[in-house]
Amino acid sequence: MIRRIHCLIRKELAQLRRDPRLLGLLLVAPILQLTILGFVVTNDIREIDLAVRDQDHTYQSREFTRALAASGFFVVQPLAGADGRDDAALVSGRAGLVVTVPADFGRRLTRGQPVEVQALVDGADSNFAVYGVNYLQKAARLFSEKLVRATASDRVGKQNLRLPSVRASTRVWYNPELKSRIYMVPALMAQLLMITTMLVASMSLVKEREEGTLEQLLVTPLRPVELILGKLLPFVVVGFVEVVAAVPFMIVVFGLPFRGDVGFLFAVSGLYLLTTLGIGLLVSTMVRTQQQAMLVSTFFVMMPFIMLSGFAFPIENMPRAIQVVTNIIPLKYYLILVRGIFLKGVGMATLWRETLILAGFGVVILGLAVARFRKRLD
């Protein structure tokens, strides 16, 4: 049995060697993508274009504008001229926020009264609106705090009264500076791994069928299991090579911490590869042409995995029904495992459930694929 698989693997490697572009793509592309996309996946939104319409022109309104600029969140541009169509700045994209300081701003503050400033926020761009509003509120709060202390100490000092406040001090674990890169980059690696291995697996068998060489394989003494193992093992190797290359890369280039166990990482990566290759294989048993394989694996597998695995959109926010569905996405468990290993330094003891589930998936999917493949042969 080993000998037959060995022959098949030699054939696969020979074919791979004859198409150096494929090999190049499989090995180089993930690292390249990791580099470029790794620096993109940062959620730290800064330098928001803020336009200010000052209708007051007092010391206080100018102080407020200055405070907004000094907050570090915004790039402030004052609006001049006719103030009829200030929202045009939002439409053209020149600004993400338009703040209007009312004419009684200074007067009210001097009297110790609260004042509202109107802010128009561009709600059409990503989750920008939430950040824009949060930053604005934060900047306004800091400004107000200074004012309150100044006026309060004035009035209140006479009565020896002190103003209390509630303050939240936060300690962030695993990632004290809240670098989203640390969170996103391992997830990116998982997806790149999935894309490369699943693609080749799904296309490889279909390609043989399309070219008619599958029949030749079938008349050899190869048994179905051996055929599958022989076809997939080279890609398991490719997958491991990617992991081996990606991990030190992420640590060095992105400054990712690695607090867990390397052996455990490889073990769970192997399980994950079982699932991606298994799915690729399953897809290849369901389609007739390579284009169909491409369509099915992109639209029905890879894209949903990327969207629903908790990578960019928190699973907690999804409707209940969808949350249940996300439980059958292997990528979700691999993400939990990888993040745990890199950032929290936890191992089998804490993450045994996810490991078991991933292993279960691998076995079931591969089993299903093999069974289907056998049926197709008869």
Binding site: A129, L161, V200, M294
Partner: protein, 374 residues
């Protein structure tokens, strides 16, 4: 002209014979839009929180009530000792642990700063950041409440000169996540469909050796390209029309801008996206390689570099420039502009021009490579 019609007819016939592919190019983007529009949202809510109340006074309980009286935080666990916090965060059973130390109420009564501590799971930086943000806001509100009380009790007129922003969210007043996701999702799905459709078309002929038959026919490269692209332009337009209807019917996302501008944008987009797929088809020799290349250039980039999730303005300068070479980035900007903001051609001509330029380059490369072969 006759030769072009011949290629066109052949492509259409092959397309019709492959029912699976055709239905997938057509129906799947629509189905997926329904799924993602329903499932995905950016609003971070229901953050699981574990609580340790070491003070146990009326003030501490009031503060906790104000914290959990909104959909942002869910109180999932009550712990007794700080030592238990470790395990809770490690296992991921709560996103953060809130500790109200003993003496909370006492500090407030004395007019001092009363600290509450939050131990946050930073592994998910974006939700952690949001959680911290919410916590700050709630602490500020509690501060204001407590101060007003103090002033009232002392009989002092409440003097609180505070500046409060009153935000109005333009283009999307109810702040429906789906509204700003839908145009981006449409762009991503259309990009995938378009590139998949054409990236295998020529290389498939090369693999099956039918390319030689085309080469010995009197077909000109331009006619070949046009004939192979046009059927997918038609499919693309039809898909786009349906997907927009779905967006309106299911998610209430209306097209505020002009329809003719939308059609023009879609045509320009299809010209460049299909051209890109075709170019990939002409520079590769096996479908596997074409597939890999097409996926690498479209799947993650149209998700991460198009402005769908991460605002382009916040990216490093290199990436902002880099994204200019990706069609989805321009399509997302244009779609959002037309659908949500009612933008006009004057606002959007840079995006259209960019897509046109990219499309021109891609189609040129495809034509050049085909010419070499023919």
């Amino acid at each position: 002209m006759r030769r072009f019609r011949a290629i066109f007819t052949k492509e259409v016939r092959q397309l019709r014979r492959d029912r699976l592919s055709l239905s997938m190019l057509f129906l799947v983007p629509i189905l997926l839009l329904a799924l993602y529009g329903y499932a995905l949202s950016f609003d971070v809510k229901h953050i699981p929180v574990a609580v340790i109340d070491e003070d146990g006074t009326r003030d501490s309980r009031e503060f906790l009530e104000s914290l959990f009286g909104n959909p942002y935080f869910d109180r999932v666990l009550t712990l007794n000792h700080r030592a238990e916090a470790d395990a809770v965060l490690d296992h991921g059973r709560a996103r953060f642990v809130l500790v109200i130390p003993g003496g909370f109420a006492r500090h407030l009564a004395r007019g001092e700063i009363a600290d509450v501590q939050a131990l946050v799971d930073g592994a998910d930086a974006s939700s952690a950041g949001t959680a911290v943000g919410y916590l700050d806001v709630l602490a500020a509100r509690a501060t204001r409440r407590v101060r007003l009380e103090t002033l009232a009790r002392a009989g002092v007129e409440p003097v609180l000169p505070v500046v409060t922003p009153a935000p109005r969210i333009w283009f999307n007043p109810e702040q429906e996540s789906s509204h700003y996701l839908i145009p981006g999702l449409i762009a991503m799905l259309m990009m995938l469909a378009a590139v998949i459709a054409t990236s295998l078309s020529i290389v498939r002929e090369k693999e099956r050796m039918t390319m030689e038959q085309i080469m010995v026919s009197p077909v000109h490269p331009l006619e070949l390209i046009l004939g192979k692209t046009l059927p997918y332009v038609l499919v693309g337009l039809a898909t786009m029309a349906l997907i927009l209807q779905l967006g309106r019917a299911v998610f209430g996302v209306e097209v505020i801008g002009s329809w003719w501008l939308l059609s023009l944008t879609t045509l320009v987009f299809l010209f460049s996206a299909l051209g890109m797929g075709l170019m990939i088809s002409t520079i590769t020799h096996s479908q596997q390689v074409a597939f890999q290349l097409a996926t690498i250039l479209t799947l993650l980039p149209s998700f991460l570099l198009s402005g769908l999730i991460f605002p382009i303005r916040s990216m490093p300068m290199f990436h902002q420039i880099f994204s200019l070479f990706f069609i989805p980035r321009h399509f997302v900007t244009a779609l959002r502009g037309i659908m949500l903001k009612g933008a006009s051609l004057a606002d959007l001509w840079p995006s259209l021009a960019a897509m046109l330029a990219l499309g021109f380059v891609f189609n040129l490369i495809a034509w050049w490579n085909t010419r070499k072969n023919l």
